[in-house]
């Protein structure tokens, strides 16, 4: 029974499933449509709550119509609605009506990362004083353990400016979308924070997250981005709470926060 019921819910052109009726032999068309509407409106609404900036950028009505297409293609895999929409950015890349909005998929990636960070495990970030307690000659050997909330999204577009202005209800019409920005998403305290990263910092943090030693990671970042400001990047890294631990030679001798 439930296979047919579920299939009809997601496909409005299918008839009311066999055996589903109204009281005293009444028709069940509009009655079954209540379930169809609940499912569609509920899932589209949930998607809009996860991607409020995308919704604002395209408008509520358009977003709803677009969400219904996505929902039919990719219904949630579990009852954990806050995990829904992992494939939404990829969907936007292929959804022809928004093909002119080149920045839209990366904005969606940033919004998805924001919610992942919101629900990530609680761990104290690395004490900002930790690096100061490391002997200068040992700094290059340090490796880092990433905080569960940390996400980095590199984009060819001004996703940090668009995201921040939209979520703060500011006008976004003055933002030039075609400037590359990297977003750093972290949760250093009570709330999720989103920062733009200067050139090179994204390269450095991604290398450190992958377990590369600080000396090597900094060298690579500098080679790729000659104006890279290492002290500023390290200060931002500590302030944002990107990591939870550093160790001279992981895992022994850990200098935890």
């Amino acid at each position: 029974m439930q296979a047919g019921f579920a299939a009809s819910l997601l496909a409005p052109d299918l008839p009311v499933p066999a055996g589903v009726v109204g009281p005293r032999g009444k028709k069940a068309g509009k009655r079954f449509a209540v379930y169809r509407n609940n499912v569609a409106v509920g899932l589209a609404g949930a998607l809009g709550d996860i991607f409020p900036v995308v919704r604002k950028l395209v408008g509520d009505g358009f977003f709803r119509a677009m969400a219904l297409v996505y929902v039919a293609q990719e219904p949630p895999g579990s009852p954990l609605m806050f995990e829904y929409g992992q494939g939404f950015a990829a969907f936007l890349e292929d959804f022809e009506p928004v093909s002119q909005l080149l920045y839209l998929p990366d904005v969606a990636r940033l919004e998805r990362a924001w919610l992942d960070a919101f629900h990530a495990a609680d761990v104290e970030p690395l004490d900002p004083g930790a690096l100061g307690r490391v002997a200068p000659e040992a700094l290059a050997e340090l490796t880092f353990t990433v905080h569960p909330a940390t996400r980095i999204i590199d984009s060819d577009f001004a996703i940090v400016s668009i995201f921040s202005a939209s979520r703060e209800d500011q006008d976004i019409s003055g933002i030039r979308p075609r400037q590359a920005q990297s977003a750093l998403v972290t949760r250093p305290g009570d709330w999720v924070e989103v920062r733009g990263l200067p050139p090179g910092a994204s390269t450095l943090f991604k290398a450190l997250i992958a377990g590369v030693r600080l000396g090597e990671a900094a060298g690579d970042a500098l080679a790729a981005h000659p104006q890279f400001d290492l002290p500023a990047a390290l200060a931002a890294m500590l302030e944002a709470g990107v990591f939870i631990r550093c160790a001279a030679r992981a895992p022994a001798g850990s200098l935890s926060a």
Binding site: M1, A3, L9, Y35, P75, L80, F118, D122
Partner: protein, 306 residues
């Protein structure tokens, strides 16, 4: 409920004070209301959360719920277990529910007589089941599985429905009574659901309540519904949770409380959520009915036990 009613439980390394649900009004917890609830001179009787919203690892939602749980009795209401599912319970989801229950030590745990997951995925709605023998056996088995995993009794909520099944061989109240008898679960009576389903199926709400095993009811839900029409133009009510409780539902509530005495009563308002004072006013309206039917009518009734 006053502070001295909260007994500190020291056995088993629990994190929170033991706090049974009082026979008062509670509210569905919304993130935007947390600070106001904690600061309010009006102490709401209890709060209820959807279990699925707290199945993430950590973050601000858990911090807020911990603060609420330290101050108020808590009820955990699952919406995603799919107890009526033909393909069996998802053990991973049952584990998640168990983790929420271990984490927050709620006074009550409840779920719905419905299904919501199938091979296509999670459908995000509470879908109806036919009332027949094979569904009965399956629902009883699933509730037993849940109660075994959680090591506690749960409450099962009566549904709001818009369609019926040709294959049904029993009435809804008979089905629910039999589920409770065989599984040992308690019942959550959603009076708005009674009114919505009765209107949609042409039953008399008072007959439904007469046939319902009220002696097993440990919690009541109240909510608002919207109104539409079916294919024949007859009234079709939608369980919308987006507005105040209707006067018809308040009247039924008064009848039920007069009959069984005060029971913890939740105001559900999940869509177009208003500011806290509006939700509080609904809770105070339920409190007034509970107080009016209070001590005098308590004779012969029983409190909800944790």
């Amino acid at each position: 409920m006053t502070r001295k009613d909260i007994r500190i439980q020291t056995v088993g390394g629990t994190r929170f004070p033991e706090a049974p649900l009082p026979p008062r009004a509670g509210a569905g917890l919304k993130g935007d209301h947390v600070d106001q609830i904690l600061a309010d001179d009006y102490r709401i009787g209890f709060l209820e959360v959807h279990a699925e919203n707290y199945m993430g690892d950590g973050g601000p939602a858990h911090r807020a719920l911990s603060a609420i749980r330290r101050e108020f009795p808590l009820s955990v209401h699952g919406v995603g277990l799919s107890i009526g599912s033909e393909r069996g319970l998802d053990p991973a989801h049952l584990d998640r529910l168990a983790r929420v229950v271990e984490r927050y030590e709620p006074a009550l745990v409840s779920e719905h007589l419905a299904w919501s997951s199938h091979d296509a995925g999670y459908l995000n709605d509470l879908l109806p089941v036919p009332y027949d023998r094979s569904t009965l056996d399956r629902v009883v088995a699933h509730i037993s599985e849940v109660q075994g995993r959680l090591k506690r009794r749960i409450l099962l909520e009566n549904p709001s429905t818009y369609v019926a099944f040709e294959g049904s061989t029993m009435g809804e109240t008979e089905f629910i009574a039999e589920v409770a008898r065989r599984s040992g679960c308690g019942l959550l009576l959603d009076i708005n659901n009674v009114y919505v389903s009765a209107t949609n199926h042409g039953w008399k709400p008072m007959n439904y309540l007469r046939d319902f095993p009220l002696e097993l009811v440990e919690e009541i839900h109240l909510a608002g519904h919207s109104e539409d029409v079916d294919d024949e133009g007859d009234r079709l009510l939608i369980d919308a949770h987006d507005r105040p409780v209707s006067s018809d539902v308040w009247s039924l509530y008064d009848v039920v409380i007069s009959q069984i005495g005060p029971v913890p009563t939740l105001i559900e308002w999940d869509n177009d959520v208003p500011d806290w004072p509006v939700l509080r006013r609904e809770a105070q309206a339920a409190d007034a009915i509970l107080a009016a039917r209070g001590p005098a009518s308590l004779l012969g009734s029983r409190h909800a036990s944790a």
